[in-house]
């Protein structure tokens, strides 16, 4: 007896349709899986029989072979429990095989026969939609995300018995509760809560407007974390495509609370994070790392110098390409990872170098070692570097609250729009993405602006890379000012955002 249903395996964030064939033949009762099942799928072997029996269905006491095709693809993840069970039920004629045609199944089964929420259902639903299937059956907890795929019927079931009943015509799924499409994102934090730090607030605005990465150097208590957290609130709202990508990644990571993610993610991994945790990986089932969870959002690395060297080095690929490719014995996977990097560091090991009120107690050689850690290929890719001073009580009291995030976001969106129009032919969307030669060609700097930058190269040791970075940032400042040309004023402000730490002793940084 033979049955065949559609399942989906997720590699990276991409779902691949898998034909799950079941054959029930003569022989001692057994269940064999073929077609490169991964460890998580092998697991399912022992789970499916109790689940089927708990659903008051019959497990055929014969020799069962389930083949997952295509055979060249390694299948992994718990989402194949349901299709394997349905394949066996179809082969044993307990489910109407003809009606299962055109449906995909995804979901993990418990021994009780319940369908439990499963990571990667959105990716599975997208794959089903792409393959032109009629619908997909998913755990009811994942129905909201699966419904994000247009033109795909979604059946959210909470138990295997319901699924079988649905196809026998004895059960109707509850209509998926489409969460109201909130057009306005309600953030729990707002830029107006930052007192003082006007220069840092301005730098955040510039970073958001041009998609620039940001390094903040300042003493403990200066408010670096507070500022970083608020960068996500002034980035432009996620487009639907971006939101889908973010939702998909969070779904694969099993971190999705409900339907579509509308807020730009803010991820702040602790500095003890492993390279695999930061960049993605895992031994069999490849999981997205923090860089991918921060896709289209903000990745905040507090205490940058404390991060493991291999982890930080690994950030170079996503910073350049906007994606991570992970290669393991089990295969390779690609995760999108286009984020704004915000890094924070103390000016020295004790944290008080350059602070007017507290004396730094670090030995000189330790400051040098520390400064060396704050240079290198990663920091080279950070356009805006800012010293954030620790404010005195007096300075704090004198400050009125700043602008709310919404007002800043409006300016940021206008500046981004200018960039999108300008770079439409290049397939780029922000100044930060421009390669060096292109920025020199496209920035439209006035002669006065060029002269200023050239002067900074001659007299203040601005490097070639530093020149390009300053020009990019100046281009963004001009975009914020709605100016077609980069003028001298834009350049001088940009030069102020390449602070090198706090004192002469860190001068060689950058």
């Amino acid at each position: 007896m033979y049955g065949c249903v559609n399942g989906v395996t997720v590699i990276g964030v991409r779902g691949h349709l898998v034909a799950v064939e079941a054959h029930i033949g003569r022989g001692l009762p057994s269940l064999t899986l073929t077609g490169q099942p991964g460890a998580a799928v092998q697991d399912a072997r022992d789970r499916i029989r109790p689940a089927v029996e708990s659903a008051r269905l019959e497990w055929p006491l014969r020799r069962i072979v389930v083949n997952l095709s295509p055979g060249n693809l390694r299948k992994d993840g718990p989402g194949l429990d349901l299709p394997v069970a349905m394949g066996v039920l179809a082969a044993s004629r307990q489910a109407p095989a003809a009606r299962l045609d055109g449906w995909a199944f995804a979901g993990e089964l418990s021994l009780k026969g319940d369908l439990v929420p499963t990571p990667g259902v959105l990716s599975a639903a997208i794959a089903a939609g792409r393959s032109g299937l009629r619908g997909i059956v998913v755990p009811s907890g994942n129905a909201a995300e699966a419904s994000l795929v247009d033109g795909l019927e979604v059946v959210g079931a909470s138990a295997l018995s319901d699924v079988v009943a649905y196809f026998r015509g004895g059960w109707t799924p509850p209509a998926p509760t489409e969460s109201a499409p909130a057009s306005v994102v309600s953030w729990s934090v707002d830029l107006s809560e930052v007192r003082g730090q006007a220069q840092a607030r301005r730098a955040l605005e510039v970073a958001a407007a041009g998609g620039h990465n940001l390094l903040m150097i300042g003493s403990p208590g200066a408010g670096k974390t507070m500022l970083a957290r608020r960068l996500a609130t002034i980035l432009p709202a996620l487009s639907r495509d971006e939101a889908l990508e973010v939702t998909q990644l969070h779904s694969v990571a099993g971190l999705l609370p409900g339907g579509l993610v509308r807020e730009r993610p803010f991820r702040a991994p602790h500095h003890t994070v492993s390279a695999a945790g930061l960049l993605g990986g895992g031994s069999s089932f490849l999981r997205p790392g923090e860089v991918s969870l921060a896709h289209h959002g903000v990745l905040f690395l507090d205490e940058l110098t404390e991060f493991r060297r291999d982890a930080v080095e690994g950030l170079r690929q996503p910073l350049e390409d906007g994606r991570v490719v992970i290669i393991r014995m089990a295969g390779s996977a690609e995760f999108p990872a286009r984020f704004t990097l915000v890094a924070a560091a103390n000016p020295c090991p004790c944290g008080f170098l350059g602070d007017p009120a507290r004396r730094c107690v670090c030995r000189d050689d330790r400051i040098q070692t520390y400064a060396a850690k704050l240079s290198g290929p990663l920091v080279d890719r950070i356009d805006i570097r800012l010293t954030v001073p620790r404010l005195t009580r007096h300075e704090l009291l004198g400050e009125t609250p700043g602008e709310p995030s919404a007002a800043v976001r409006d300016r940021v969106e206008a500046a981004r729009e200018r960039q999108r129009r300008r770079y439409a032919d290049l397939g780029l969307s922000s100044n930060a993405q421009l390669p060096g030669p292109a920025i020199r060609r496209l920035s439209r700097a006035t002669p006065a602006a060029h002269e200023l930058l050239a002067g900074a190269v001659d007299r203040h040791g601005l490097t070639g890379r530093g020149f390009d970075r300053a020009l990019k940032v100046a281009r963004t400042i001009a975009d914020l000012a709605d100016d077609d040309h980069v003028g001298a004023d834009h350049v001088v402000e940009a030069l102020a955002y390449r602070s090198s730490g706090t004192t002469h002793r860190l001068e060689h940084v950058g």
Partner: protein
């Protein structure tokens, strides 16, 4: 304190009164054997002047002192062993290899000022330019970990002294010391560094280039034999020589308990003038200068004050190259920078936008009129002068 300085300054002649402290006996280094003994003594750890001067006065000669140590009657066993085994010819050869002269207590080259301090060194290794007896030597000392402003002030003082023909004396340490030496070298002036190691040791590591520049253009002095490593107790001892060589000591910045306080205290004890550059009372590095001012040191605002007070030729031109004339907007910003100031504060005081202020500050910084200190901005010496000058013109 500076009122009496003119009499002391004029060199060897005026310091004829006997030193109030015990000194080495006359003729204690008279014979070649004595001078060989002094070479060995300069290499012994325990052979401090404080311990040896009483013995020298009892036995009367350097070779006698060495014999006492070698016999184990004075000092540690270690010293006794080294006193027996060290070869003076080798030490002398090492000194010659690095081009040092060995100036002993009885030599006419022995600095006259040094005869009037407590625990004067029995002998010095001197390398580089010969110092004449009539030079005015001024010590400029301060924190190694100083502020940018402090460095700038020290450099201007060094420059001013150098241009006025005085010799800048310091310890070649990082920070204020180095800035003072560099200022003097820039002005083509004389400079002298007292090291806490042997002359050939190359310490501090980060300051090797400065030491080499002083070796080439100025004078290096040490009381320790070539090859002596930097022991921590060498540096306070070195400071007494810095203070002792000079008619005046200037302290630029120093935190509580720092070496600059020790140098200034020595200078006061030896009856030399002490000058201090004040700073903000909230700045921990102002602790030593402010304390000294309270104790009667002369407050100076910069090189000009010092050169005038010392009665030196005050044909002092400022070290700034072309004078920077700030624009009206820049002058307004400069005016607001009394001490390290946040751009926010400047912006709200002038009712202009922060980006604009940041831009103006950056323009000023590019021209060296303003510097950024940990996210705040302060005027440099040139910036202060530029602000002052334009105000004078517009008023």
């Amino acid at each position: 304190m500076s009122a009496e300085s003119s009499s002391r300054r004029s060199g060897t002649g005026t310091l004829t009164a006997p030193s109030p402290w015990p000194v080495w006996p006359d003729g204690f280094d008279a014979t070649p054997a004595d001078r060989r003994a002094l070479l060995v003594l300069s290499a012994l750890r325990g052979a401090t002047p404080r311990a040896l001067i009483p013995i020298a006065n009892r036995v009367g000669s350097a070779s006698g002192v060495l014999a006492e140590i070698a016999a184990g009657r004075v000092g540690s066993e270690n010293d006794a062993a080294f006193a027996r085994s060290l070869d003076p010819a080798e030490i002398g050869a090492a000194a010659r290899r690095c081009g040092a002269r060995f100036v002993t207590w009885g030599s006419p080259d022995y600095p006259a000022q040094l005869r009037h301090i407590h625990d004067p060194p029995a002998a010095l290794y001197v390398q580089g330019r010969e110092t004449s007896g009539s030079e005015v030597l001024v010590a400029v000392v301060g924190a190694r970990r100083c502020t940018s402003l402090g460095r700038e002030i020290a450099s201007a003082i060094g420059h001013g002294l150098g241009a006025a023909g005085a010799t800048v004396v310091s310890g070649a340490a990082r920070g204020i010391d180095a800035a003072a030496h560099e200022g003097a070298l820039e002005a083509g002036g004389a400079t002298l560094a007292v090291l806490g190691t042997g002359l050939d040791v190359g310490y501090p590591v980060g300051g090797r280039r400065l030491v080499e520049r002083i070796r080439a253009a100025g004078t290096l002095v040490a009381e320790y034999a070539p090859g002596t490593p930097p022991h921590p107790w060498h540096f306070p001892a070195r400071n007494r020589i810095v203070a002792g060589l000079c008619c005046a000591t200037v302290v630029v910045e120093g935190a509580v308990g720092s070496g600059s306080m020790i140098t200034a205290e020595h200078a006061m004890e030896f009856g030399r003038d002490v000058y201090a550059v004040p700073g903000a009372v909230t700045n921990p590095l102002s602790a030593v200068p402010m304390q000294l001012i309270r104790e009667g040191a002369t407050m100076i605002r910069g090189a000009e004050d010092l050169v005038n007070d010392l009665g030196l030729d005050s044909a002092l031109e400022h070290p700034v190259a072309p004078r920077e004339v700030p624009s009206e907007a820049e002058r307004k910003v400069l005016d607001r920078l009394a001490g390290p100031t946040l751009p926010d504060v400047v912006a709200s005081a002038l009712s202009v936008g922060v980006p604009e202020v940041v831009g103006t500050l950056m323009r000023l910084e590019l021209r060296g009129l303003v510097r950024s200190v940990g996210g705040r901005y302060e005027a440099t010496l040139a910036g202060t002068r530029a602000g002052r000058r334009t105000r004078g013109q517009t008023d």
